[in-house]
Subunit: 263 residues, 2 copies
Amino acid sequence: MKNVPLHIVLVGAGNVATHLAQALAREHRVVQIYSRTAAAAETLAQAIGCSATHQLETLVEDADVYVVSVKDDALPSILPRLKEVNPRALFVHTAGSIPMEIWKPYVQHYGVLYPMQTFSKTKPIDMTQVPFFIEATAPEDRERLYGIARSMSEKVYDATSEQRKMLHIAAVFCCNFTNHLYAMAADLLEKHGLPFEAMYPLIDETTAKIKQLTPYEGQTGPAVRNDISVMQLHTDLLSAYPELQTIYKQLSESIVLHHSPKT
Amino acid sequence: MKNVPLHIVLVGAGNVATHLAQALAREHRVVQIYSRTAAAAETLAQAIGCSATHQLETLVEDADVYVVSVKDDALPSILPRLKEVNPRALFVHTAGSIPMEIWKPYVQHYGVLYPMQTFSKTKPIDMTQVPFFIEATAPEDRERLYGIARSMSEKVYDATSEQRKMLHIAAVFCCNFTNHLYAMAADLLEKHGLPFEAMYPLIDETTAKIKQLTPYEGQTGPAVRNDISVMQLHTDLLSAYPELQTIYKQLSESIVLHHSPKT
């Protein structure tokens, strides 16, 4: 059964909003993009072929769905201004860590559409494989939201606001923090005339292994062996990079602690 | 040109030694496995079909190559005992962070054979894709070593002891530390009834992205957006897990610092 195309307004033009707009536009009609920054709204609107605005007062009022995908800090100032827009429409935000109930004072039909993925504007992504976690109160809102999520992805799950927060924290560890470790390693290698590309096979194997062993079982390296002389050497070598040194020490200590024999 | 099969003794029976023994045995003849622990030596020797020993005094003396792959801490006590074994043989260790020159007082022909990969005994690995970094002083030793490395892998590079140390530190960041972050995330999710498998698409995309954008360019998440309210919320939510909380704070601060506008 093919869904009836919905009219969708996208509030936001950042990384997540950009990828959502493109994915939503495949089955639905994205009618307007809002961004605080006029240029950002224009750029995305042109890519999608719809209108742009940087003034919330000029939001289209007859859309079926309003998807708010902005920095979490900006939500509290935006939501109250959606109050009078359209009482029949469905309003959703895309934030991992903001409870669904933040909508309650303002609109009747609401929910959360959380795509758990790392989005960079210039990197295309296969949205059909992105896990979406959805939440709504009224069953008919949940149905509408499920349909919207399924129009983009094969992987749609229900999650409460509490579960979503934990998913978001786990995602920060698995993606944002690991990526920052890659960035620090790349920087260190560059300073010593070595290519970061040399790390690819190691990185690929590390992520392949966690699908066969648990990450706990698959832990390797000086810390899990409690190889004190290597850890000391590395710490000494990193004395020129105090920030890396601190992170090296702390993560090594944490590994030692997690893997030391229980008494 | 096919290499003449060499007779190889493997000193060590840990994760690296296990995978090396199997890879070396394809073109060469692994004749003996030593491990301090008799059972470990036996297990690996049986898998390879060679003899085992837990006494260095009984090492085979007519092998062509001695590969020492033990915990770095153990090297200083083992190397002196290889002094009289075989003056014509090539001696190599496999440690990222131990200089080649550690061999100098003891043997004539020596070098380093460093496979930069994460090895777990129970996880098979395609050794042909593992980058090997080699080092030797005498050109003929370097040739022998290059041949041995190429018999296992398509990716063999020269690296000085200094470069190898930096590669090892970078590998700790890219593999051991990221894996520990996965383990901590898995633990957190499990405690909240959520499957770690939900993270796979995110993890895969994170590592795919660093091959198209630099990790610095591809950084996403609350810290790079300086989304203070999310970071505060996460820190509060992690108050039941002080270790995760500390790591969350420190890595977030580091991301903020690296990505704040330069003045």
